[in-house]
Amino acid sequence: MSLEKGQFMRFSHTLLGLLLLLIALLSVAKENLDQCPDQLYALKSGIWKSLEIPVCWEEQTQKFEKQRQWVQDAVKGSWEKNSALHFVGWGNCQSGSKGLRIGVQDVGPHTEGLGSELDGLKNGMVLNFTFLKWSQSCSTELEYCIKDIAVHEFGHALGFSHEQNRPDAPKRCKMDSQGSDGDLLVTPYDLNSVMNYCNPKWQGDGTLSTLDIKGLQSFYGKPNSISNRFDGNWMGTLTYSDPGCVSDKVSITVEGNSAFGKLTTPDGRTATAKSNIDDSGNFSNLTIKLSNDDSITLKGGILGGRTLSTDCGCGFYKFKKL
């Protein structure tokens, strides 16, 4: 009985396999419009919400101390120097460590995604400190390679995609198109970007271009931003005059002149948005979109103001610092 059952299962298994193959072939034959590339620059969802990004090393060893310092120096002299960002920590990773987790292997340096996709991801970034197997030419110019590569990979870690992937990149550069694509064009096409494989100087010699800095600052602010007296986390509730509308919870994190808002609906949906906030605590309209036809806009300041909702109309809000 069990043998018959086994035979039957094998037969059904083969049949299903054939069906699978047939469907796959039909699928291949069908034109798939979703294949159209959307190669752009920055991945909006990958932009970190916090300006303080923890960094740690996966290997629990004192090995490569000099190389680790080169990486830290390169990042400090590029992305940190030109923005309000701070990469903090740089110690050994623990289980559950958040932020960027860097592994060291003799393979092509890489990141397993863009920006905050890497948050807490083990070996989310991999750097090469020896180049004995991969790109051996770097083994004789370690500092140069390690520093320039670090600047490029940290660009990915901040959410920036390859410049040559953009639709407006010259044809000869598109040949090098690879990797994760962004969904946001921040600045005009930039040949001199550290994120451009077509840059006549490899990795831009680890120096951010003018447009790199402009793009960086549009997301992560200018360096040495004066801290805002409203810096911190705020929790608020929106209320509407319409009795059919349930109050939404909104949290806001203020960092310098940036306000990051997060809306959580009673049914658990969330949406985030960023706005500017001045030194008096006033927003320049903070609009949080749940979808194209479902959003709220806060008008006023962090302490309180009016709100406009697409489905609930007008209301008001109040925030309390946590």
Binding site: G6, M9, S12, H13, L16, G17, L19, L20, I23, A24, S27, V28, N32, D34, Q35, V107, G108, P109, H110, T111, E112, G113, L114, E117, K133, W134, S135, Q136, S137, C138, E141, Y144, C145, I149, H152, E153, H156, S161, H162, M175, D176, Q178, G179, S180, D181, Y197, W202, Q203
Partner: protein, 140 residues
């Protein structure tokens, strides 16, 4: 490609059959998302194309031999690498790709977005030196 019920059905069923053949269970229920990601976690699949090469992001922009795609299953996500020279994988939540994915019952083959990829336990050796296989030495 939008999520297609039949794609899910046909890629789940052979796996379910296999699982129940091993356990001796009498009914074939499709595995859950969690058990599927657990089964595939850590597995790497490759698509090869003869003479395929890519330009590495090293100081000499070396042209190297490469596989044509690699898909890595990592916890709740898949990483799509494209080529050996790619340094930033496309990270996609597993739950959102099922309509584009077929998996053979022995987990040795997948079809993802028209492309057939085979399972390799270790990174494939592309030349005697391993994976760093320059095809031209001059700068481009």
């Amino acid at each position: 490609m939008k999520l297609n019920f039949f794609h899910i059905l046909f890629f789940l069923l052979p796996i379910a059959t296999e699982i129940h053949a091993q356990t001796g269970a009498s009914s074939a229920e499709p595995p859950t998302n969690a058990s599927l990601t657990e089964m595939l976690n850590g597995r790497n699949y490759f698509h090869f194309s003869k003479n395929f090469s890519c330009r590495s992001n090293d100081p000499r922009h070396t042209i190297i031999k490469s596989w044509k795609n690699k898909i890595e299953f990592k916890e709740e996500r898949i990483l799509v690498w494209g080529s050996l020279c790619n340094d930033s994988a496309k990270s996609i939540p597993f739950a959102s790709i099922k309509g584009d994915l077929f998996i053979s019952s022995d987990l040795r083959l997948i079809i993802y977005k028209k492309q057939v990829l085979v399972y390799k336990e270790k990174e494939p050796i592309l030349c005697e030196e391993g994976q760093w296989c320059p095809l031209k030495k001059d700068n481009l």
